[in-house]
């Protein structure tokens, strides 16, 4: 009972965090107290409100160029959520299509899918990102595409194995006996019965994509400079961390909380969806 309550609490907390960040992201222009790009060199590195010397109107202080840190953080949520969802959608489309096809048809199709998955797994992500950025320059689109086209392996593996399990169940034979086509069966009989596994993968991938974007931005391979990505904020702040540690702490904590929230939500969804199925 205690464990159930704790788990439910975790799920709700996760959902609340994700929802909160999503609202911040969607309504960012209405919520920010200042223009996140407006510099004020006289008011650089102002401490946040819980430290001495805080400036009125800058609750999270300012960065090394005097930009309002709260505003940048809110706009950063936009980038993180955008990259997270766009990556999950792109990689989900690729991975689930491949996985379901391979798992359903088996044989040569499956061999081909497994080969593609193995190829993908042998490609180092950061190296590809480095190559792509040096070839076409860094932009938000490039980051989304790079992550989306490279993070589908887990979708493919999970949808392939779960499809194999569902494929042999009687209701799939029954659907065939009722005159349904293979494409229809994959879409209507298989997919709804593996989607609860895929939701969990989607949350994991979303968290991973957000972390990877931060990592790429930190390395200078991600979102280009004036955009307020959380990873980029950490990167820009690292030169000042010994004297003004909050500039690295604030986006770091934000990143940690968002990723934790997504993972809690994913865990909770897995339990919830799994429970209705076993009943």
């Amino acid at each position: 009972m205690m464990a159930v309550r704790l788990r439910l609490g975790g799920t709700l907390l996760g959902a609340a965090i994700v929802l909160f960040v999503a609202v911040l992201a969607v309504f960012a222009p209405l919520l920010v107290p200042h223009d996140p790009f407006a510099q004020d060199l006289m008011g650089r590195l102002a401490p946040p409100m819980w430290l001495d010397g805080a400036q009125a109107g800058h609750p999270f202080g300012t960065d090394q160029l005097g930009r309002d840190y709260l505003s940048r953080l809110i706009y950063g949520a936009r980038i993180s959520m955008l990259i997270g969802t766009a990556t999950v959608v792109t990689s989900g489309l690729i991975g689930i299509t491949l996985g379901v096809l391979g798992g359903f048809f088996g044989g040569l199709v499956d061999d081909a899918v497994m080969f593609v998955i193995t190829c993908r797994l042998s490609i180092p992500l950061v190296l590809v990102a480095l190559a792509v950025v040096s070839l076409v320059g860094s932009s938000l689109t490039v980051v989304v595409l790079t992550l989306g086209l490279l993070l589908w392996d887990r979708f493919a593996v999970v949808s392939r194995t779960t499809t194999m399990q569902v494929r042999n169940l009687d209701f799939v034979s029954a659907a065939r006996a009722a005159g349904c086509s293979r494409i229809y069966i994959m879409w209507h009989e298989v997919l709804p019965n593996i989607v609860h596994h895929l939701v969990v993968v989607a949350t994991l991938e979303m968290a991973l994509a957000i972390l990877l974007e931060a990592a790429l931005s930190f390395l200078g391979l991600g979102v280009p400079a004036p955009l307020p990505s959380w990873g980029l904020m950490i990167s820009e702040a690292k030169d000042y961390m010994f004297f003004t540690p909050w500039v690295i702490e604030i986006p770091g904590v934000a990143l940690f909380v968002l990723v934790l929230g997504i993972n809690l939500l994913g865990d909770g969804l897995r339990d919830l969806l799994g429970a209705t199925r076993d009943a």
Partner: protein, 330 residues
Amino acid sequence: MDCAICWGPRVTPEPVLEVRDLRIRFGGVVDAVRGVSLDVRGGETHCLVGESGCGKSVTALAIMGLLGRGAVRSSARLAFRGTEMAGLSEREMAKLRGDKIAMIFQEPMTSLNPAFTIGSQMAEVFERHRGGGRRVALDRAAGLLGRVGVSAPGLRLAQYPHQLSGGLRQRVMIAMALMCDPELLIADEPTTALDVTVQAQILRLLVELQRDLGLAILLITHDLGVVARVAHRVSVMYAGEVVESAPATDLFAAPSHPYTRALLACVPVPGVVRRDQPLGSIPGTVPRMEPGFTGCAFRARCRYAMEVCADDVPLRLQGPDHRYLCQLVV
């Protein structure tokens, strides 16, 4: 027609399903079905009886055109209402399946998609073959659920499979099979997974439906009790062959193939079987048939086996409509 339970069904003279010399080979190494021939007429229940692994379910799947990869099917004739099905494309077969030929499966617990309501699954079949709106399809589904004895059909339509018991689910499967007024119903062990009382209800339902709708039913079972209750005609299968085929009354009155007789001896009859007498059994198991096998497949387990049993087996007649495959003349 003189049958076990004479309901006076309108048995049509020309067969709805005609199978001649059906052969199925798996991966080139196992002969699962070796020359099965059978007819199912309108309003008639044809039972295909046999042990596990004798090829009866594979025969059903082959008729539906649902064999998996690695299975090779050949037949001299495989006709539904006079139309040869062997040459039909996958698309044309899909049109027949669920519409004119319906199938119900052994395991009602897994034959329904857990992700959709009963109503949407039933309506789906109808819309696929007949078009029309969801409203029409759902009305028909509710009507059929009532017809197969499901209480509160309107409520059931909105429920998910996990909310129904095994017996209810099998009724839903039957109602779903009837959505498009099929002419042939293939039932693969429809009562095996159910407990005895529910089993009896489902069998009675099938008999009633057949009488009312003039369905041709191909019933696959290993249970001779089921056969005795519903069959008009019986084909006994052994190792991929029909070893004996006869009207049900003839078969129970004069079983001619040693395998049929051995099978009948295995059925306990309450009041006749005594506690101190051992129940009949057939030693050994169904052999795995490899290409090139000749002679009688049952000879290793047969108490009448002779040297000639290794040669080709003659088809003998034991009456105008009663055939069996054996060297012995009864």
